[in-house]
């Protein structure tokens, strides 16, 4: 084999190596593929607190309310869904089995998101405004508006008292 043919032969071998090398690159899908908002509970001093008693949370739907948290004791946080098509969602907070109620209103933009062609589509959201009744809740603060796979704290719920 002449040096020139040998060079061509080696270069073709390298081409096959490169194809193998390039095909190593792949897409890693997120381990957590649940999209949910997250809110944490605080008192006036900005200390994290737990609800003293039970908390039941429902989302209001045209076809009937859906419970997302059922009589949870000493709840200190809540993961909540946001609708794919509505602009504002209503969450009903029921404290201690109907003794007190609060309604939370969460306005958001829905963003259909291509995670990748190998990992699929997901509906992410951007929270634009929050408000509530004030039977037990004092203030709501948007901490991070983006609702996606990151599980960040999106909303701070500040109560009148530690209860």
């Amino acid at each position: 084999m002449s040096p020139r043919h040998y060079a061509i032969y080696r270069c073709l071998l390298l081409l096959l190596t490169m194809i193998g090398l390039s095909s190593c690159s792949g897409e890693d899908c997120p381990i957590n593929n649940v999209v949910a908002g997250k809110m944490l509970f605080y008192n006036h001093l900005n200390d994290a607190v737990a609800i003293n008693g039970t908390l039941t949370v429902s989302v209001v739907r045209p076809q009937g309310d859906s419970v997302v948290l059922n009589r949870k004791s000493t709840a200190s946080e809540l993961s909540f869904p946001l609708s794919y098509t509505h602009e504002t969602d209503t969450l009903i907070f029921d404290y201690n089995g109907g003794m007190l109620y609060d309604s939370l209103y969460i306005s958001h933009i829905n963003v259909p998101t291509l995670v990748s062609v190998d990992c699929g589509m997901a509906m992410f959201h951007t929270i634009t405004a929050v408000s509530s009744t004030h039977h037990v809740i004092d203030t709501l603060i948007i901490k991070s508006p983006e609702v996606n796979y990151d599980e960040r704290e999106n909303i701070q719920v500040i109560y009148h008292t530690a209860d």
């Binding site: 061509i8 190596t17 076809q63 609708s83 259909p112 190998d118 699929g120």
Partner: protein
């Protein structure tokens, strides 16, 4: 650096270590005094010639892997003193695929551009074969389409359609390049390069951003790429063999 990237780096280093045997006459100057080789370089004209190259890797690669996107590119490289190689690359990237797992259709096609410079690591041997290191800056402006099954809300039960057309996007990226170019016939060369591509800017990001960017590839993070080129050399240095 994760394990996968580290493994690719090891393969790259092994490839580079093996590459001198790809070059005809790479050891021709073995044993010659270094000072003699330097004197030879001093006599070189600044402008030596122009390499006109076509890349075949963008069409070969999709045959072997599942990513169904294609690209082809042409480049012009100026040879300055057999040592510095300013280069302009113009390519065209294309994909029209549907993922089997999620039935997501993704379509785009656009030109891309790169400018940069290579440095011949073996300029002292005076032969028309090169091992080179270099860098590039790439740019593309393109539009992409996404067509996927509607997203069904698990709580409310509604469906949200997923059909987006002509989403505009621009991308800028940097590439580190390592490669070889070997003469296979008079003024004809064959060569390859490995490229480490690092996205600098992609935007505006809408609906998760593009999956495939012409010239950059399908990864959202840094990724490896490659070229396999056939080159014709316009020789403006009559003294050169």
């Amino acid at each position: 650096m994760n394990a996968k990237t580290f493994r690719l780096f090891i393969i790259l280093l092994i490839s580079l270590a093996a590459s001198p045997s790809c070059l005809r006459g790479a050891d021709a100057n073995k044993g010659k005094p270094l000072s003699l080789l330097h004197n030879k370089d001093k006599g070189e004209k600044l402008f030596q010639g122009i390499y006109l190259s076509a890349d075949a890797f963008g069409y070969i690669y999709p045959i072997f892997v599942k990513d169904k996107y294609y690209s082809t590119e042409l480049s012009a490289t100026v040879n300055l003193k057999n040592r510095f190689f300013p280069v302009v690359e113009v390519g065209f990237g294309y994909t029209d695929m549907v993922s089997q797992l999620y039935d997501i259709g993704y379509r785009t096609q656009a030109p891309y551009y790169r400018i940069g410079m290579d440095y011949n690591m073996q300029y002292k041997n005076g032969k028309p074969n090169y091992i080179y290191l270099g860098g590039r800056v790439g740019y593309t402006s393109f539009k992409y389409n996404i067509d996927a099954p509607a997203l069904k809300d698990p709580v409310w039960g509604d469906e949200s359609p997923v059909q987006f057309t002509d989403i505009p996007c621009r991308a800028v990226w940097a590439e580190a390049v390592a490669g070889v170019r070997a003469e296979i016939a008079k003024n004809f060369y064959m060569g390859w390069s490995l490229r480490y591509k690092y996205p600098i800017y992609k935007g505006p990001i809408a609906n998760g951003g593009p999956w495939y960017v012409p010239g950059l590839g399908s990864s959202t993070k840094a990724a490896f790429g490659a070229t396999y080129t056939i080159t014709y050399y316009l020789n403006f240095n009559k003294r050169r063999p």
